[in-house]
Symmetry: C2
């Protein structure tokens, strides 16, 4: 391997000058820079700054496969996962399957066991059997953000107690006195968000509200769908005083719809979501939501995947992420009585 010093020697300059040419050519006289670039070309020098990976004799790569990069939750997860991977000396490649199982399969065949030493799979539509076969032949696969801890998958996973997230949302609305509640249930990447809605229903029942009396709509997981669904919902059920959405995108869409219909949030209608994406605190009114601790779950997922690669016997079949937490902001408030003093 050609070193920076050899380049410096050949170009008759100091190593610092080579470094300057590499980083900031403007600092170096053009003739000198020219000589350095020529030496680099002649020697075939490749600057490699990933010293740690070099020291270990390998710079291994992880892959993260997800279904829909344009859903803001995923970029936030990617950012945290990439930082965690890097801290541990690994690269992270991201593959977006665009909600298409066939693409997911193709990526898996392409990357698992070749480019990537292990793959983190999030909410893709690939059947569990296919994932198992890939894990068997191509190398470690870990499922991130598994939504049903009560029902662990065949492959190792990091799970989140989404039923609890739904329950926290229900308890919050009940405490504020809401009884006339509607649900927007997301049907996005990887299927219906039923752990969340079931947890919500169970807590309603425990709070004395019959879940069967709750208006609900299943919608695709996006701001636009939340907007349209909220308009349809309010047209059918004008007396609803609180809306629970199984994720923040739907909740944010619902708030925009309420604003455009002249309904005040939270004075006329309270809205609560699940996830706590960045937008949740950036919008006005800021969104009350149940945080699933995206960053912590991403870090835990990367750590688990690395352990699965390095010491598979040490990795438990399922790791449970930190518990979801209610984050109260401005989009929920006490139910207003119809006739006020």
């Amino acid at each position: 391997m050609v070193t920076l010093s050899e380049v410096a020697r050949r170009a008759r300059v100091t190593a610092a000058t080579v470094s300057n040419v590499l980083r900031n050519r403007e600092k170096v006289r053009p003739e000198t820079a020219e000589r350095v670039l020529q030496a680099i070309a002649e020697l075939g020098y490749r600057p490699n700054l990933n010293a740690r990976a070099l020291a270990q004799g390998r710079s291994s790569t992880l892959a993260l496969m997800l279904s829909n990069i344009s859903n803001p939750f995923y970029p936030e997860f990617v950012l945290a996962a990439e930082r965690a991977a890097r801290k541990a000396g690994h690269f992270l490649m991201v593959c977006n399957t665009d909600d298409d199982a066939q693409i997911g399969r193709a990526y898996l065949n392409q990357i698992a066991g070749t480019f990537a030493d292990g793959v983190l799979v999030m909410n893709t539509d690939i059947a569990m059997n296919e994932l198992c076969i890939s894990a068997m032949h191509n190398g470690p696969i870990l499922l991130a953000m598994w939504e049903h801890p009560e029902n662990p998958p065949v492959l190792p996973c990091v799970a989140v107690d989404f039923a609890r997230a739904g329950a926290l949302a229900a308890q919050h609305l009940l405490e504020l006195g809401h009884r006339n509640i509607a649900m927007l249930i997301g049907d996005g990447c990887g299927g219906l968000q039923d752990a969340r809605s079931e947890g919500f229903r169970t807590a309603l029942r425990e709070g004395g509200v019959d879940p069967a009396s709750v208006a609900q709509m299943q919608v695709r997981d996006s701001i636009d769908s939340g907007y349209a669904a909220c308009q349809a919902l309010l047209a059918q059920h004008p007396r609803v005083s609180a809306i629970f959405a199984t994720n923040d995108l739907l909740a944010i869409g619902a708030i925009q719809a309420l604003v455009s219909m002249g309904r005040a949030v939270p004075d006329d209608v309270s809205v609560i979501g699940i996830t706590d994406i960045q937008l949740a605190h950036q919008m006005r009114p800021a969104l009350t939501t149940v945080a699933i601790q995206t960053e912590a779950v991403a870090e835990l997922s990367i750590r688990s995947l690395i352990r699965l690669i390095d010491e598979p016997a040490q990795q438990p079949p399922m790791v449970l992420g930190p518990p979801p937490e209610l984050v109260t902001r401005m989009s929920t408030g006490p139910r207003k009585r119809r006739a006020r003093a």
Copy 2:
């Protein structure tokens, strides 16, 4: 290479049954599924559905390196780029450098010429010299979203006329009668958005407004920064009737700040951005902006990179993307007179 038919033969089932086991095990009797899985394991069968890549004897991979995946513009670009790559029979891996040039270099060393047949680089902080050296040794690099078409880089690029985007924003505000204008200039991934602000200033001057009279702030490119900057700006310059932000994130942050300060948008203050990210139409009031045609530019970038790989002599040094276009929505309106009838 083991085929699906060989698996079927060994398991004494039809090819359709193997396919069913791969896709949806529930459809198949457990004993049969077990036999198929065993045959798959014994033969080492790997389902490969990327038929086109196989037919060509290669399934080549492109990489997209970007600085900050949590900025919503990038996921939108990624989605369009990934679709375009796939349509052309290529995979697309995404590398997020997290605004760190050293990470960018490490990725480049890791992927260029090994995993990836070509790399699309967007707004990273890596010095041009280093990119050139990587392109020389490791393989094709194309710069996407080059902001200065009047000053082409050494490496091939797809450029966007961002100065024109700024000019369109200025012309729109001038036509609405605004003279007391402020600027929020983003300083995000890859440096200051100066082509946009310069284009804006030039058009102001042509419209008879002295750009030196315009209040301005340089801020990091995010909703939160736009929010804080707008509050600071309005405190110093309470009579501003229109705000131009060099990108939508800042503009959306500014609108949230105005709302929380009790200033109506657009009745008290108009706001315009650049980019047209999805959020621009999803927020209320929906954001007036200058669309840079993200999807079209992403497709053009992928097509250009593939040509650079396959027929380098055919790829022009610079390709100009489609011209930016004004998208008028609800966040801009005519300047209101102080004393009205």
